[in-house]
Homo-oligomer: 192 residues x 2
């Protein structure tokens, strides 16, 4: 599966995509730590680093509960990934002088996720992000305090064979296209 | 300037940082296009690609207006970057069957920005993101329609000598630290 892109685009950026077939193997904790280290090196407003990642390894005490907070469709395939992660952001910049809303808490956490996805690929893993999440249930399962937002969930794992997927998903196991640059970037005022 | 990180973290992720000294040189349009192509290859919910980038090259017809939408402090140094960009997200998933709020419009746009920052570095440029923006003025300058959100601004350019900065900023021209992985990622339920 290949994607058409300028040869000048970083290979990890071009080659990252979101399969649904995972082989059930574990992600070693030391690899996971490198992935989160990469995430934490993203830029953030005032270097506040609003991202948090709550994870469960496949088969550990929390995995089933984490999985149950995905929509049923995503549970069917995410169960075979090595790790299931919820990306959470801190909605406030907190200090002794009071808490202020952080304009970019979601945005910055998305930047951290992008780093994580690229780093995972560099270590031989694939990722697949999901907003197909029961967000209320996720907050419950995570025992999330007020002032934090569940942004999305993602899995990390080794790619499996797509023959393991049901027909409908097997057909969707493809690298997706992107809008042309001319539709997302433009000189001067806004064009929608 | 160096940062302590695992040798397994991707070099572009480790080496990306946010200087304020830029040398005033232009960013060729073909390089800018590659940066936005990389941005557009980020993951997004349902592949909706909610990101938009409105930019001005230093010295073009829009640059001064774009610059005026930053807070005065950021104007003082951002004026020397080659390109000034506003990252905007589409708050809705729009279709013929109606528009639905997109849970991850900011988050996904943050992922695109992360790709852009890494790609820029790979091409020899530096970036610096800002939420020190007059968001109301930015929406005005961009002539932004309802339903789109200005997430942040960032500059792209070639690094300049920090001696060009005023004393106060020269001292801040350093690579920032990050929280340890143990503070941002944890197995199981949430810890703040």
């Amino acid at each position: 599966m290949t994607r058409t892109a300028s040869p000048r685009v970083l290979p990890n950026i071009v080659n990252r995509w979101s399969p649904r077939a995972f082989d059930g193997s574990a992600v070693p904790q030391e690899d996971l730590d490198v992935i989160f280290e990469a995430a934490g090196l993203a830029a953030s407003a005032y270097n506040y680093q609003p991202w948090r990642f709550a994870y469960a390894h496949r088969g550990d005490a929390n995995f089933d509960a984490f999985l149950s907070a995905l929509v049923p469709f995503n549970q069917t395939w995410a169960k075979d990934a090595g790790v299931l992660v919820f990306a959470v952001s801190d909605e406030f910049m907190r200090s002794d002088r009071g808490d202020n809303p952080n304009h970019s808490h979601s945005f910055d956490t998305g930047a951290a996720w992008a780093n994580a996805a690229l780093q995972a690929l560099a270590l031989g893993f694939h990722t697949h992000g999901m907003t197909g999440v029961d967000f209320e249930k996720a907050a419950e399962v995570l025992n999330l305090p007020e002032g934090y937002r569940v942004e999305m969930a993602f899995v990390i794992g080794r790619q499996g064979d797509k023959s393991q997927l049901p027909d409908m998903l097997r057909e969707r196991e493809i690298v997706s296209d992107r809008k042309p640059v001319s539709e997302i970037a433009f000189a001067g005022p806004f064009k929608d």
